[in-house]
Symmetry: C2
Subunit: 347 residues, 2 copies
């Protein structure tokens, strides 16, 4: 690993940290031999970030837009300082350095699969075309990819916003698939419970669990409306309803503890319910950026819960392909994604 | 699971959350049939909490003591609101309800192995015997254990402060042992790197990794002094020096990426170094309460790092026994623990 590969040379302050930890990045459009410059078309804020901005500004779309602009200008990246999260972008490759290993060429329409929290980004249109009402932001400007970035060429058979919205959460189904498939291979297909199951990462995780051979899938949702929608898709063998922040209600709704519990609810305070709903020896996968490390660690200890707790890594090789395949194969996933356009109640 | 078993009835506010998430607990000394009341002798703050208090008050011992008292009185538990962490306590069982499953009887001297963040606690001596200069606090008062708590009777062959200090971090060696032993069983003994290796959880994790059959152990420390001390114990095949918050320096010091990286440094910002130092397909175990969930999740994604990231669960069955065994068997561990009395630079 060299510093250039991970973008150290783009860190303006503080010195020595990686781009994700930086307060400010250098957005100079001139690329190094192993970099790629992208003409930005659209930003997709992560759900936790948009929700925080929305709440902080009482839903005022102009105030939300102003703050996003200010963050990008101050930091050289879209890195919400409160949630610590970012999102992703879509654009067209403008110039690819001769030493870039990403295999991209000018004209490719791509989505970045690394977080906006570490992607040098400059916008030049004041986000004027964004109404501030959803996390998908039409935008103009440029972004820089490093050698050790991840970007996927957008599929020709799917609308861009749909593909983007799938790729944004593709780490969740990929890791869920890996964990469940590992248990299936060892002869113990698990019951899989997904919290926030009607959301984007939730519905894909349900589909991934089933494809990997889960013994049974349970989807937990907060509202009657989501219960009806998820039931209609047939993605989960059982659909149950509870507030994911209420541990006792979650455990009661799930019933017999799950072997694998996947947390896709993007609000704080869901750690304890997930732990309580999981069987001894089971696994909890936390995908929500609202997860608190101490709440999970101390919660499991406090409940004397012998569970394996995974930090949902957004990168698993082949994650974008798997998620797009699931969307194509499962009409239920697609219908939830389509119904959710503009709806950001979960990741 | 019933609500009483996990202490829901002791939550004063807000309603419906578990004791760890509560702002305030009920410290009524009258116990329910499945509870145990303990006469407190000593509190042991976790290192991250003591460090935060120490920094916030510029090291002023009286101010530190006052704030700890205020937290306990306001919350009915020692739950540092900034770090979200607590610690543990030692005391003597005063009364055990007839339905308590913990197997304790009046007169047993025990250590609680669940966090102070969820343990109802009242002190009655104003912490007058504490000098405010270390995380071990002589104290008088009472605490309540629930049915689903964990407590261990203190061993007769070890001084109380030493046993306490071992039990406080016993989750780390237990989980390290489990992860390494799993890889050994699958025929792939890993190289294990421990960040913060001369600290309490670090030295025990090194010893646990070796006992579990690690191919090689590497200990990373921040200072020349710790380098010398750790080298003297022989606990690690290699001892290297770097600032754990500097990702590039950490990766360079570790050299060939590790199969398992254990993070025992109790300062923020160590996520990226641990990820960079870990081989593709490897595992990072985060034990520090200073770990940031988004920094880890987005850091791995941003580095395109296909690593499994575990939240260090403080509870693994048999954890106290394993840690005490390691201390007895490894003179190097014991010498580090003894040398560290009063030193809290790492967990």
């Amino acid at each position: 690993m060299t510093g250039t590969a991970v973008g150290l040379h783009r860190v303006l302050e503080p010195g020595g940290v990686l781009p994700q930890a930086a307060r400010r990045l250098d957005t100079d459009p001139r690329i190094r031999p192993d970099e790629v410059r992208v003409r930005v078309e659209r930003l997709n804020l992560d759900a936790a970030s948009y929700r925080q901005l929305h709440t902080a500004h009482g839903g005022d779309p102009d105030a939300i837009r102003r703050e996003v602009l200010e963050i990008i200008e101050a930091r050289g990246k879209m890195h919400n300082p409160v949630t610590g999260s970012g999102g992703m972008l879509v654009g067209v490759v403008d110039e690819a350095g001769p030493d870039s290993p990403l295999g991209l060429k000018p004209g490719d329409r791509i989505a970045t699969l690394v977080s906006l929290t570490l992607t040098p980004l400059a916008v030049d249109d004041g986000l004027a075309r964004w109404d501030g009402r959803s996390e998908q932001i039409p935008a103009s400007g440029h972004a820089i990819l490093f050698a050790r970035s991840i970007a996927a060429v957008l599929p020709a058979d799917l609308p861009v916003p749909l593909a983007l919205s799938v790729m944004d959460v593709c780490g969740a189904p990929a890791l869920t698939h890996r964990v469940v498939a590992g248990l299936v291979a060892s002869g113990a297909p698990p019951v899989v419970a997904v919290l926030g199951a009607a959301g984007k990462s939730g519905s894909l995780s349900l589909a991934a669990a089933r494809r990997a051979g889960a013994a049974r899938t349970i989807g937990l949702v907060p509202t009657e409306d989501e219960e009806r929608r998820l039931t209609g898709t047939g993605l989960a063998e059982r659909v149950v309803r509870a507030d994911a922040r209420d541990p006792v209600a979650v455990a009661a709704a799930i019933g017999e503890p799950a072997g694998v519990t996947v947390v896709c609810v993007d609000v704080p305070g869901c750690e304890h319910g997930a732990i309580l709903a999981t069987a001894a020896g089971g696994t909890v996968i936390f995908f929500s950026m609202a997860t608190s490390f101490p709440a999970a660690a101390l919660g499991a200890e406090g409940l004397a819960a012998d569970v394996t707790m995974l930090i949902g890594n957004g990168y698993v090789p082949g994650h974008a392909e798997l998620a797009l395949d699931l969307l194509r194969a499962e009409s239920g996933v697609r219908s939830l994604f389509t119904a959710r356009a503009g709806d950001d109640s979960a990741q």
